[in-house]
Symmetry: C2
Subunit: 272 residues, 2 copies
């Protein structure tokens, strides 16, 4: 396995440059060490970055990959004197896009992640809503929810709800399906009038068993037998109520959220 | 103001392509409508995308911007027959990086956001930890926290904690400073042994007043006078305890989190 260091150098938060770090996963043959250097907005800080790049090149025996978003031209050129492979978001994306749009890009730091972004307040409202409607903790305000996730305990409802809120500004409540619901054989009464915005999560019994064992090892709750039974019953309830669901076993919150967003935006299409 | 449509077309979640959408904020002179098309992985779905692109071009009177991450070459070439300005993550980023690394990139969908990513489980553990340690709800397990955010009620502790956990896999507890602490004049006793990992948030009184008024309009709690007093006292407590803090008034959770990550990784440097 080859070792390389990937630097994310930005004059702002480095969030956008950092997001491109995900693309490094297309190269599983290289073992990347990721180093973030946000707020690199003076020549002194550039100098520190250059030293770190040189050091990493020496240690790895290969030049680092530098993913950079720095507006100021003097700073940008200074970094590029290092021995590295550069991916410059201004050169490759922003400046050419400016040509297409016939506009000069703003180059101040932090533009892309300011609180002025049109949807910032919506996102924060959604996060608050989601935390206040986690795990069925209240039945009030469900009218306001844009989606209600349901499923057995520990199938991934909470982190998926939080991601939907933080990333997309979606007010996502979540509601657990519990033994009481399984005995009664129907969805909780409070959800009946909201079935059009309910989305289900399910999970493989073996995975649920492992996840629950981490918390309550050896309990009946965590036993494979109980997990199998809960999941089969939950899927039956959802099927009877006409609820679309997705399996969280091998899907990340990013993937589940993308599926749920599709459902919200194009209700006719089916998730899998 | 010019209107353009920006399409994010991906054979996977579209999260990475979508993150580049932030770069559109460098062009405030254009009013972008953003359309996400994740899971575009068949020729039929490409056809739908092409129709949407054509329609948007007609409505805006200008060709759309298409930011795309599609591994399959046949699908990629099919999209590019549309009349649009293309930013192709494979062409501009992944393929050239493969040349640098002497490796062929994996092209399957969803690689960048799989649950197999090295840090996925850490991130989910951090989200669970953070939600279980929100708003001082428990004093147990604080040893495990990587950072403890403190500050007056409604200054942004919760969304910042959640972002740190979801984005960076940081176990972030948060603890409110309340009237009881102000009267006593010291940090809560349970925090005394953790001052090295405490980070403070503060906020301008006018902003706090507005935020609190949304929830409890006209209350003493929300009054400008009380907000001023709480903030001055909280800052005094933090100063006495040698706690670094940042002002959340005009900073997004992305910006605050980047500042806090700097503090965690380079404790010597000061935040502002």
């Amino acid at each position: 396995m080859l070792n390389r260091t990937a630097f994310f150098i930005s004059d702002g938060t480095g969030i956008t440059a950092g997001a491109l770090g995900k693309l490094l996963e297309h190269f599983p043959g290289t073992n990347f060490t990721q180093v973030r250097m946000p707020f690199t907005d003076t020549l002194d800080k550039i100098k520190l970055a250059q030293d770190a790049i040189q050091q990493a090149a020496k240690e790895n025996g290969a030049r680092p990959v530098v993913i950079m978003s720095v507006g100021n031209m003097e700073l940008r050129n200074a970094i590029k004197k290092s021995n590295a492979y550069f991916i410059d978001l201004f050169n490759t994306f922003i400046d050419p896009l400016g040509v297409e749009l016939h506009q000069k890009p703003l180059t101040g730091a932090g533009i892309a992640h300011s609180v002025m972004g049109s949807k910032y307040n919506d996102r924060m409202d959604a996060v608050n809503f989601t935390l206040n409607h986690d795990d069925g903790m209240t039945n009030t305000g469900l009218e306001e929810a844009q989606v209600i996730l349901i499923g057995v305990s520990r199938c991934g409802k909470t982190p998926t709800s939080v991601y939907l809120a933080m990333q997309f500004g979606i007010k996502a409540a979540n509601y657990p399906l519990i033994p009481e619901d399984f005995e009664r054989g129907t969805l909780p009464a409070v959800l009946h009038k909201h079935t059009d915005k309910i989305f289900g999560l399910t999970i493989k019994p073996e995975r649920l068993h492992a996840v629950r064992n981490e918390r309550r090892n050896g309990s009946f709750y965590a036993s494979l037998e109980n997990c199998k039974k809960e999941i089969a019953t939950a899927e039956g309830l959802m099927r009877n109520a006409g609820i679309t669901w997705a399996d969280s076993t091998s899907r990340s919150v990013e993937e589940l959220s993308a599926i749920i967003m599709e459902k919200i935006q194009h209700p006719a299409k089916e998730a899998a």
